[in-house]
Symmetry: C2
Subunit: 307 residues, 2 copies
């Protein structure tokens, strides 16, 4: 039976592209591996898939008991398939912190503190002397652009930049032009319901004893989103109650100015004010220069929760 | 300030040699890294260090807050420095299951399902085109011999065998002759107190909600050890009480026949009988062909605790 490779719930471009590309690499190395996704493909990712003419992987509803799986772009179980404990995790390729992850047996685990899983996969093609097709290069490039906000996020390392330049060449696109078009496709929120906005890129984290959910959307127009603040708050309050969250942080990131305007609700609201040294007004605050959930938000909030 | 690299508590040959060797590799790559140990050097490891004329690393009493550390040959916090949570873990090189490990930030984590950390380090020398000195090769070889019981353990992979052969050549020793001498040096238990036997290679594991400690010693004479069974049991019962263990399993491994005679005490004793399908007599059972704590004992017991 084929091994399955997939990224996290609420898939983003790195998660989808890394799953597709790693299945390609494994196939070329003679292994039987198929890519899957744990949720809907977002507009940004769909733009990249269309551009390079690649099909999205099939949806995985449930992992069968004992299935051998490869995780990319995540390791925390609450971000993985619902019944991930039933699977046999044989491999992980990731670039996030390690938390709420465990296995019964030794496995192949490769995490590196770079900006994007795709950057590690790019290296693995080279280590294994496997050629990157135009499509593979295009998907890896799209993932790096997405995770690094076109190389501007503080999570972006020199390795990511070098990989992006090299991949743009193989993919035959201009990095800046293609990158901005792709990000804009993802930042078009005009068709999104409030529920979409809150779930399209939401991740849950354990911080101390608390459960914190952080949803992030990219936009070119902050005010457009917050026109619906009342409706957003009502929906967030329901999520907080149903999941017993201590905090729900909605992060709206302005991809042109590289700032984020956040909306914080829940008992843990004060941790946002203290952590970022801001005053919340109308439950909101502008976080200047903050664009990275992983490197700027999760770390700051975790410090507040465990100090 | 130098980063510190160390292996687990109750250091064995892989843990000590991997720390020493990885500090050497890092140094040759221009990083400031020093090896440390978390406990006494055992006789087997001392034999290897003496043979290749290498000093043991200094003892680490306590990790200072915020010290950058590299873990080798372990990841589970209860096997690491007592206040490991105070350190900033920047890197892990390991070959065990992943459990009770977490970081706040992304890191470099490399685990591979091979028999020995030294096998991964050997690969890293080659990946980085760094020459292995006779001493480095000797220590890496000693670690592989130790973890694989001279290539006979089920944890031993083809990669470990190939590495051992290659390293024996560089180290200028005959693999079989050197290996058996080194193992025998470690299996000489004549000078050991009961307390030594129970702590010299003991590791604690979380299984479900239970705490299980598994101590292992190598011998060429099973009966010699069990002459002191009464004294051993009294001491184990004290350990169980002071650490609130569900089970203490004492594993005496016969390195000539590759079997283990185990002694099980604690509430969880029945899990040993069920897991290995044996009957305990006088709290003991012979486990034919069982020599690997990691691959044959921890996995079997974890299944019993979480089923």
């Amino acid at each position: 039976m084929a091994k399955l490779v997939f990224g996290h719930k609420n898939p983003d471009t790195d998660t989808i592209c890394s799953a597709v590309v790693y299945a390609d690499l494994k196939g070329k190395l003679g292994e039987d591996v198929e890519a899957r996704r744990l949720g809907e493909v977002n507009q940004e990712t769909q733009y990249a898939l269309n551009y390079f003419n690649v099909e999205a992987p099939a949806l995985l509803e449930k992992v069968e008991d004992g299935t051998e799986v490869v995780l990319v772009d995540h390791n925390e179980f609450q971000q993985s398939a619902d019944n991930i404990e039933a699977a046999k995790i044989v491999e992980v390729i990731d670039h996030h912190r390690i938390s709420n992850f465990e296995t019964k047996e030794p496995l192949y685990f490769r995490a590196e503190p770079v900006g994007c899983t795709a950057t590690i996969l790019n290296k693995m093609y080279k280590e294994n002397n496997v050629e990157r097709s135009k499509e593979v290069a295009g998907l890896l490039l799209s993932a790096i652009i997405s995770d690094s906000l076109l190389l501007k996020s503080p999570t972006c390392t020199e390795e990511d930049v070098a990989a992006a330049r090299e991949l743009a060449e193989i993919a035959g696109v201009d990095l800046e032009t293609y990158g901005l078009e792709m990000l804009k496709a993802g930042a078009d929120l005009s068709e999104k319901s409030v529920s979409d906005l809150l779930t399209m890129d939401a991740k849950e984290f354990s911080m101390g004893d608390a459960k914190v959910e952080i949803a992030q959307v990219n936009t070119v127009d902050l005010s457009e989103i917050y026109e619906k603040q009342d409706e957003i708050e009502a929906e967030i309050n329901q999520i907080i109650e149903s999941k017993s969250l201590d905090l729900f942080l909605f992060v709206v990131t302005d991809i042109l100015n590289n700032d984020s305007e956040v909306l914080a609700l829940g008992r843990g609201q004060a941790n946002v004010a203290t952590g970022f040294n801001v005053e919340l007004q109308n439950n909101r605050a502008l976080l200047k220069g903050v664009v990275s959930r992983k490197k700027q938000i999760v770390t700051t909030l975790t410090d507040e929760y465990v100090k």
